[in-house]
């Protein structure tokens, strides 16, 4: 009982010291929350003239809250031997608990409330999104506050702390210029890089904080922190793709009736509408027609990673790095697997009969009940997704529809949006927003803005804004167009082998 009382007693002392600071930051955070709420409500996610005020606030608060967490540590600092608390009967556990309580109540809680208010301003119920809200703040504690606390426990005050943080940022900057990041795709599990980074940072910083409070061996812990800052850089940049396979097996239920992927020999020639891209200079792209069989009823398949291996008649092999090149043909004829072959390999073997295989990580998704919004009508709250709307005239062009969903606390989820212009026959034109958050248990967003927006542009074929847009029939009537929104939720993941029969590469190249 007295332990709890002492913890609360120290907490109250810090609160009495810093309440004006907390109040000022809370007021600014409230303004920011209002700005975020208004931004998404008024402009449907477009950046506006209020951006400058928003960025100033984000910078001030992005610095202010961690600063508050640091100064409360400095209030009873750890390095040195002259601080009053050291020779008082205040155990390190009580002191640490009191500081943690302060960070949770005075730093984290106001931000949680502000985020909840931003969502409420959109007319959404924050409690419906509570797991995402808590996950978002767990990530912010792990990735931002714990490193600041670790630095604060090892430094004597703000000047030394600022020098340490500048040094850490500089080291990370230098490493990022020296070390090339691994670009291996991990089949929808790219989030592992960053989540493992946050996890390692959190565990490491927590260990530093606890050890420092327990022992105050500052001269040992400072080099440990410096070394940790260097090593932790390699977690996301050198994350082994093989670990993604383990995570897939651990986190994703394997499909009960495995999907088969087969080479579709009925379709020939390259994918209609495919054009050479300057991005892939030095390669030749071969589009292989593929077909998904054995699909369980009501589910849709998405490919998240492909590895292709080809073998020439002479036995020469070529294997791709993991990529994600499966496209839906624009003519609605089916799926195509794009293989980027080195020019040299293509020139030598393009006319030979080549066989091979591909490994595809295929995720199956269940689709939510479709919800409909009408272009030009007020946004609609869609349970489980957020606030969705369709705004004609986006990009300052009257001949477009901007379909969007504001989703609280999460990176944009996998949504399928289908636009049917007023008076046009169904089915309409389909576009989807992607997600690399497959089976992520904490798909939270680390951004300042608690609301992320998934956006898709649709434009009639006779519009000048068709680039990267879902192309509607020329002359489509946009006002009153019906936008159907469906959320795809992954239910299983399976590694599927595609057997590539004897093919001539040139037959499928553009």
């Amino acid at each position: 009982m007295s332990h709890l009382f002492h913890i609360f007693h120290i907490f109250r002392k810090d609160l009495r010291r810093y309440w004006p600071y907390i109040l000022a930051l809370s007021c600014l955070t409230a303004v920011q929350a209002a700005l975020y709420g208004r931004l998404h409500l008024d402009f449907a996610g477009f950046t506006t003239g209020s951006d400058r005020a928003r960025h100033i606030l984000e910078s001030a608060l992005g610095f202010g809250w961690p600063f508050l967490a640091a100064v409360v540590i400095y209030e009873d600092s750890l390095p040195g031997s002259t601080q009053d608390w050291l020779f008082r009967p205040i155990g390190w556990r009580k002191l640490l608990a009191a500081k943690c309580l302060f960070v949770l109540i005075a730093v984290v809680l106001p931000n949680i409330i502000a985020d909840a208010c931003s969502v409420a301003l959109l007319g959404l119920d924050p409690f419906e999104y509570l797991p995402g809200l808590l996950a978002r703040h767990a990530l912010r504690v792990a990735g931002l506050l714990l490193p600041v606390l670790a630095v604060a426990t090892l430094t004597t005050g703000i000047p030394q702390g600022v020098v340490a943080i500048v040094a850490i940022v500089a080291v990370q900057g230098i490493l990022s210029t020296l070390v090339e990041s691994s670009s291996d795709l991990m089949g929808g599990f790219e989030w592992l890089r960053f989540m493992s980074f946050y996890a390692v940072v959190a565990v490491f910083c927590l260990a530093i904080v606890i050890r420092q409070y327990a022992t105050r061996l500052t001269t040992q812990h400072r080099p440990a922190l410096a070394l940790g800052c260097i090593l932790v850089f390699f977690v996301p940049t050198r994350f082994p793709a093989s670990v993604a396979g383990l995570a897939q097996r651990a986190l994703a239920p394997q499909a009960s009736s495995p999907v088969r992927v087969e080479f579709d020999s009925i379709r020939t020639g390259p994918m209609a509408g495919a054009i050479p891209s300057p991005i892939f200079r030095g390669t030749n792209v071969v589009y292989l027609p593929i077909r998904f069989d054995g699909m369980p009823a009501g589910l849709q398949a998405r490919v998240h990673r492909v590895t292709v291996e080809l073998q020439t008649p002479e036995g020469q092999r070529w294997a791709s790095t993991p990529t994600r090149p499966v496209y839906q043909g624009q003519d609605g004829t089916g799926s195509w697997l794009a293989v980027h072959l080195p020019k040299e390999f293509f020139e030598r073997h393009g006319s030979e009969r080549i066989r091979g295989s591909a490994r595809l990580a295929v995720a199956l998704y269940s689709a939510s009940t479709p919800a409909t919004v009408i272009a030009g009508s007020p946004p609609v709250r869609i349970s489980g997704i957020g606030l969705c709307g369709a705004t004609p005239g986006a990009r300052h062009a009257a001949r477009t529809i901007f379909a969007w969903c504001a989703q609280p606390f999460q990176q944009p989820r996998h949504l399928v949006m289908t636009v049917t212009p007023a008076g046009a026959p169904v089915p309409g034109v389909v576009r989807s927003t992607g997600s690399t958050n497959l089976f992520n248990p904490l798909p939270a967003d680390f951004d300042f803005d608690p609301i992320s927006v998934a956006r898709v542009i649709f434009a009639p074929a006779d519009s000048e804004y068709t680039f990267d847009a879902g192309v509607l029939p020329a002359g489509s009537k946009l006002d009153g167009a019906k936008v159907t929104i469906t959320q795809l939720t992954p239910v299983s993941l399976a590694d599927v082998t595609l057997v590539i029969p004897d093919i001539v590469l040139r037959d499928h190249s553009i």
Binding site: T82, L86, F87, P89
Partner: protein
């Protein structure tokens, strides 16, 4: 309750890099005593006190306070130990009364009446922030916070350094009022004040404890001896090691006897100076003893 020494160190060593600050310090302080740890700057006094309170770690050796090894000292033991240092950093943003109110819950034996009495005795302005107090006032505030819970041990690190005589008197009065119920360990250069109330004294020199004994026996042990002769003297061979800082003038020899015994010292003087006309042995103040020891040690080094 501990029955042994209130404070003990055994073969205590402390190095800061290549600098050896403590060299096998052995120290015992009996419960209820007022122990003055004296020594020149850099002798290792503050380091010793900080090791006792587990504020810093020794390189080797052991130290204990109230029967508990310093490294294992817990909040329960710290609730019985008061500490005041010239370098301590108080929470200066607090008002004096808020500071005492903040500390009170941590000390089961906190005595509000005693705290109020001490505040009044030391004439502390309770409504002012600690940052607004003078250095002397801050020391008084620290002393109140260290005495208000009836500590079993009170450790004072250079508490009088740089303070005016009035403040010193106030502090000494406050400390002396607690004598008896509290074992007091005080490190100080202010030998004149210490002499007036210390029951024991230890002399620390370059990390070594040169002596540690009761103040009364120290006063008895040291004498300034003056030998009057008829002719200009020369220091004889066989000069005793316990005779420190010999000085000669036209017909006088002066030295400090550090193992004074009336009969033996007189006999030794007569043996070495058969022509001595007069031999006088005068008591020495602590300051003079300290200076003698410090200079002798420096000369020996």
């Amino acid at each position: 309750m501990t029955t042994g020494p209130a404070i003990r160190t055994s073969d205590l060593e402390k190095r800061f890099g290549r600098n050896r600050v403590l060299r096998g310090l052995d120290l015992e302080i009996a419960p209820g005593s007022i122990y003055a740890l004296v020594g020149a700057n850099g002798a290792g006094k503050t380091t010793t006190l900080k090791i006792l309170l587990n504020l810093i770690r020794p390189t080797s050796g052991q130290s204990s306070i109230l029967g508990v090894e310093s490294r294992r000292i817990t909040p329960a033991q710290l609730a019985r130990v008061g500490y005041v240092s010239e370098n301590m950093k108080l929470p200066e943003w607090m008002r004096m009364d808020a500071f005492l109110a903040y500390l009170k819950p941590f000390y089961p034996t906190w005595d509000d009446a005693l705290a109020a009495e001490l505040v009044q005795l030391l004439d502390l302005p309770v409504g002012r922030r600690l940052s607004e107090l003078s250095r002397g006032m801050k020391m008084k505030a620290a002393l109140v916070s260290a005495l208000a819970f009836h500590p079993s041990v009170l450790i004072l690190d250079e508490p009088f350094s740089g303070l005016d005589p009035m403040v010193r008197d106030d502090l000494i009065t406050a400390v002396l009022d607690r004598a008896g119920e509290t074992t007091i360990l005080i490190s100080s250069h202010d030998l004149a004040e210490i002499e007036s109330f210390a029951s024991h004294v230890g002399y620390l020199d370059e990390g070594r404890l040169r002596f540690s004994e009761e103040m009364a026996s120290l006063s008895l042990r040291f004498r300034e001896v003056e030998v009057a002769l008829d002719a200009p003297p020369a220091l004889p061979a066989g000069w005793p090691e316990t005779w420190l800082r010999p000085e000669t003038s036209s017909a006088l020899v002066r030295f400090v006897e550090s193992r004074y015994d009336p009969q033996r010292t007189e006999a030794d003087v007569r043996r070495l100076f058969p022509a001595a006309r007069r031999v006088e042995a005068n008591p020495m103040p602590l300051r003079a003893i300290f200076v003698t020891l410090a200079r002798s040690a420096r000369k020996a080094a």
